[in-house]
Symmetry: C2
Subunit: 443 residues, 2 copies
């Protein structure tokens, strides 16, 4: 590679980073993609790994494999530490990387809103390691329930609390409902898995509040069919290995449960803070960086922030596709990330030709949440769907979007198979000794 | 289940334990299968997980799924601690389990022959956790080589030492050769993966010494085609994060290598020691329990030891199928374990009908080792095969033996796909921070 080419450094191999690099395939640039992982993760299917439906390798594609034939991309496995915007350098754990244009697309992580001590008792779902931990906890709980003779303990092992009624919480709860009602139906001798109590604890007045009230209600009905109950207007006060203490409109109460899963909130990667200091801009809501209409950092047209890390609050400026009643800032979903990546790649290529492009406009193709087999809700423009058709739509869209061809075919195949057998073959409990902290003495 | 049924307790859900339970499907017994894992592992394909060819879920089947419809089997996730043969009880971490007949099939673990400090620098391959650790180390090494500018460091990152020239060592080396020559061919910009040095360090005079000399030589030739070199008559003196010090007939030498994999030896599970004390019999070679011709422990006709834990030294007693020149004790391979499981299940069922069976006889269906795509060796009775036909035989036998139908189809499919693309989609580096201990200060 000629060293006098325009140097684009991309931090993060998620949807935004990968799409930006791909959009620059034919541009006269030299791209360095930095990620602390060696794979691109298809995050929307992470809950399937957590519930034993898919294996990690089936929802991840090696970044090097994605860019094997795109010779202007160099992939480096690096931990990014800081930025020097004046010198135009990224500092990593093994040195500094110079850039002419920088794309920061480092994504989001789960947040416990200052209660980090809850993390050990209520793991969340952002990485493959998280997913295999959740998987171990879920299937371990049924094993422990089978072993115990004490009815109260058995009930606590068979109770699953999911904190947060957004898409991740609903997907986890729906998959748990399927596990209890179908997958494990014949597997135990002492317990009946279908007696599991699965409960979504949601702080708002309805689950999936980014959908219309009618679709929220439909989702709740579909969850009830799977044995999942939704508790709304519930705030978590404390989480321990024995369960969760919550505040409801009726007062405080304690739910005994040995498995609590956290799906209540995300915040920007720690790199957002480093970048906000380097660029001297305040951190926006949710630990994100507020960007200009062209996705750049204010005062730094050569620095882009994309995807979950970007706080993009310009959609209402004359864009009729913004859903009524939703927050003006774009949501942290992969559609937004992909479109920002496409846009930014095209904008950088245009700039190198001495041109520019109009501001980024998000085209909302629709929004969907899956609840289980044959169960989902979907909002596409003014149209709402629920049940079987919404689920078919969800399957179709997710399968075609899977990045690598191999994953696409394997996933489709395994799903087709699961469809007929209800089997979840990937329900391995790996690392059993580490996956759950011990109970306090005397508990 | 009626509680007056004959109680069979099986420890270990490997090939021997599963087959014994299945052989008792129609017997008037109540079976309790104890395992510390919730899955049966198809160990012969573990090296495929370690080298990114298959995902863990594809070579493991949940024990509960295997026995979902066999109602006389109860599966419990337990750590077995000890035995009380007089009281006929197994002690586990959560209580004791009474039995009328006991089957101990707890398998083997890797041994460093007293040098346990080598384990951190040279991981071995017995579990799924081991395999994902090896996978991380292997693919991390290429990443580090890509990043470093120092030629000596780069060479050390691109050098892979495999200690042990048995089937596992050869399979790992062959898969590494494929990774370097095919899978990663287009993936890097600074290094050429095919420059990787892959070396088998074997203590004996030839690799795969349980095969005929001609087949050993053929295996070595096939490895050379993949860029793998075999060093024979080499003894490891020390292993550090920087490489291995070895004693050769020519003297001591040091091989700089950042990745050392241990495939040099196995020993019986720690339960062998507990059982030898409980039964007052000495431990046999390789940390195993010497068994009677009917696979029982001397003096305890109600206690069976099967599979890798059994030292069965009766095959030469009038059995013409024993290969000349091989050790008289049966090898620790899954064929032996499966046949012992079948035999023991049938013997227990016969006893319950007031009958008995003749001594266990191993029928050796043949022996094979795979070296890579289109490359293998196989010995079937007096016939030796190598190359393409041996590989086809290996693929055929391994695919049909995979326990669950789902795994069988998925594996076949993924292999068919890999065959055309050379892709290894499961090459995820998970847990990168933990997978390799830090270098010593000053190193």
């Amino acid at each position: 590679m000629a060293s006098n080419l325009h140097r684009v450094v991309i931090i993060g191999g998620g949807f935004a980073g990968v799409r930006a690099a791909q959009a620059l395939a034919n541009a006269p640039v030299q791209i360095t993609l930095l990620d602390k992982r060696n794979y691109h993760l298809f995050q929307p299917l992470l809950y399937q790994v957590a519930t034993g439906g898919l294996s990690p390798g089936e929802i991840a594609a090696p970044l090097r494999a994605i860019f094997a034939r795109q010779k202007n991309v160099e992939v480096l496995l690096e931990h990014v530490l800081n930025f020097d915007l004046a010198a135009r350098e990224v500092h990593t754990s093994s040195g500094s990387v110079p850039y002419d244009t920088l794309i920061v697309a480092a994504g989001a992580k789960s947040t416990y809103f200052g209660k980090d001590q809850w993390r050990a008792h209520a793991p969340s779902l952002k990485s493959i390691e998280d997913a295999t931990l959740l998987r171990a906890r879920i299937f371990e709980a049924f094993e422990e329930a089978e072993k115990t003779k004490d009815p109260a303990q058995r009930r606590a092992w068979l109770t699953f609390l999911i904190v947060g009624g957004g898409a991740t919480g609903v997907e986890l709860a729906g998959a748990l409902g399927e596990i209890a009602n179908d997958t494990l139906r014949h597997d135990f001798r002492s317990i009946r898995p279908e007696e599991a109590r699965i409960m979504i604890l949601d702080a708002g007045s309805r689950i999936l509040s980014n959908f219309s009230p009618a679709l929220s209600q439909s989702a709740e009905r579909q969850l009830i069919e799977l044995g999942v109950r939704c508790r709304n207007n519930v705030r978590v006060k404390d989480i321990s290995p024995e369960g969760a203490t919550v505040l409801t409109p009726e007062g405080e109460s304690f739910f005994p449960a040995r498995t609590v899963l956290w799906a209540a909130g995300v915040t920007g990667s720690p790199l957002a803070e480093a970048l906000s200091k380097a660029a001297n801009v305040p951190l926006a809501r949710g630990g994100r960086i507020a960007v200009e209409p062209d996705c750049t950092v204010p005062g730094h047209p050569e620095v882009f922030v994309l995807g979950d890390l970007a706080y993009f609050d310009h959609s209402a400026e004359g864009d009729s596709s913004v859903r009524k009643g939703s927050s003006a800032a774009l949501p942290g979903v992969c559609q937004v990330a992909m479109q920002m990546g496409d846009y930014t790649g095209a904008l950088i290529a245009a700039r190198l030709r001495g041109k520019t492009k109009p501001a980024f406009r998000y085209f909302d193709r629709g929004n969907m949440a899956v609840i289980g087999r044959h169960r989902a809700i979907a909002q596409v423009g003014p149209f709402g769907f629920s049940g079987y058709f919404a689920w078919l739509l969800w399957v179709f869209i997710h399968v075609i979007y899977l990045v690598s061809f191999e994953s696409r075919v394997i996933v489709a195949f395994r799903w087709a198979f699961s469809y007929f057998t209800f089997n979840r073959g990937a329900r391995l409990i790996t690392r059993p000794a580490l996956s759950r902290p011990p109970l306090l003495p005397g508990a």
